[in-house]
């Protein structure tokens, strides 16, 4: 017991320095990562230079790391929004999936390409957002009406959504491209170029799309909404004490539904951004774990918008670096997954140590 108390004292001193604990947790996880790279027998220099080249070795790589962070940040903000109402949205993966499907359908078949100017890409974005909102609202509605745990329902809805994407690209009646030969892949047609998100630096040739601006705008909007508006405060009240909120005249079930819908909307937007900004067509499994990584970003940020952006960027970089390390240095990208897990575990432990020591 004394040793624990001593440790806590030491941790308290470290925790007094702002940002020290997350940095220590990060350092610990990356240290283990280095150790594992050593185990594979790949020369350390080669692995690390591949990792760094993947993150920021060129303008292209750096932009790719940033744009990988965009859907993570959007899903993370969705998590933060729901969390304020004491709701846990773990369904980011499914909300990305339905958002991507709706945006692809809008861009290809609902005439978005005939719309004037920016409407051509804004309309599919809106459709994706609405689809995500509907997917989140199902979990919210079940929570409000039947008391089902939104953790379970939003998680299970994700698996349904992933299968819906799979089904929709298998059938020509839905989103599959016309089958012309036996080698036609089960994917959608590429979306028209006017429905793609505009590039911010078109002359440089870098794929830096407008999703980055969108993520920063969402960051500002969520921060203002939660910190400066009446509705944001009411959402907090509903989350902290539903009975008192009901006595004060607030409709708890409306808040639960709306918060889950808003949270899902950001997930859907993330899916639309992935299709219209990066991939430009729909394929099964296109969400590839971004929803779950975004959930981790939201969990780690503990409600701070700056932390959401920082963790989203970090996880985007880890993804880019891990891929590059696997391709050019043959280090399994599982090393990056291990590091992510260790970051989550050590931040979880450190957060509580810091709180307990105050």
């Amino acid at each position: 017991m004394t040793s624990v108390a001593l440790n806590r004292g030491r941790v308290a001193r470290v925790a007094a320095v702002p940002g020290a604990l997350p940095l220590l947790a990060l350092g610990f996880a990356l240290g283990i990562g280095l150790l594992l790279i050593g185990l594979t027998g790949v020369p350390m220099e080669k692995a690390l230079s591949a990792f760094w080249d993947g993150i920021a070795g060129s303008g292209y790589a750096f932009v790719a790391s940033i744009t990988r962070g965009v859907p993570l940040a959007l899903v993370g903000f969705g998590y933060v929004l729901a969390e304020r109402g004491n709701l846990t949205n773990v369904g980011g993966e499914g909300q990305i999936a339905v958002g991507g499907m709706a945006s692809t359908a809008g861009a290809l078949y609902f005439g978005a390409s005939h719309l004037p100017g920016p409407l051509a890409y804004l309309f599919p974005l809106l459709l994706g957002t609405l689809a995500g909102a509907a997917w989140g609202a199902i979990a919210g509605g079940l929570k409000a009406k039947r008391g089902s745990s939104e953790v379970i329902t939003s998680l299970l809805l994700s698996f349904i959504a992933l299968q819906l994407v799979y089904g929709s690209v298998q059938s020509e009646a839905l989103l599959r491209q016309p089958v012309t030969s036996s080698s036609t892949l089960p994917e959608s047609l590429p979306i028209p170029s006017v429905t793609e998100l505009p590039l911010l630096l078109p002359s440089s040739g870098l794929p830096l799309h407008a999703g980055v601006v969108l993520a920063l705008f969402v960051a500002l909007a969520v921060t203002v909404f939660l910190g400066r508006t009446r509705l944001g405060l009411e959402l907090l009240a509903v989350g902290q004490n539903p009975r008192a909120a009901r006595r004060a005249g607030l409709s708890v079930s409306a808040f639960v539904c709306a918060a889950m819908a808003a949270s899902g909307a950001l997930g859907g937007l993330a899916g639309a951004v992935m299709v219209q900004g990066d991939q430009h067509y729909l394929t099964a499994g296109f969400s590839s774990g971004y929803g779950f990584d975004g959930l981790v970003v939201g969990l780690l940020s503990r409600g701070s918008s700056l932390s959401v952006l920082a963790f989203a960027l970090l996880f985007g970089c880890l993804r880019s670096g891990g891929l590059a390390m696997e391709i050019s240095a043959a280090v399994p990208s599982a090393v990056v997954v291990i590091c992510q897990g260790l970051i989550v575990i050590s931040v979880a432990a450190a957060a509580q140590l810091a709180k307990g020591s105050k």
Partner: protein, 125 residues
Amino acid sequence: MIESLPVFLGSALRLSTPLVLAATGEVVSERAGVLNLSLEGMMLSAAFSAALGAKESGSATVGLLCGVLAATVLAAAQAVLSVRLKANQLVSGIGFNLFALGATTFLYREVFGGLSREVIPSFRE
């Protein structure tokens, strides 16, 4: 149709065994107030350790014990986080799942090699 019924029932029973075992474990931890989200990670690490133990020792029983031991070690680490450090159980559970997924993928490639179809000792004999 009717003659395939026993096969169907048999395989349903066989496939439900891991679910029954894992769910029973979850019930025990929920009774103690711990949401064990890292069941997936525990099953993964146990499966890998069991395969490794069985391969190295040549005995399925030793493999089984190795699997149980590995999951117990992971569970003990999670218990320290949840009970002693009072960490958020959702966060730590997800963390352990990620860690176990990465660790088993990594070790599998290091120990068995990329596309191994190696047969390990089983209980069938």
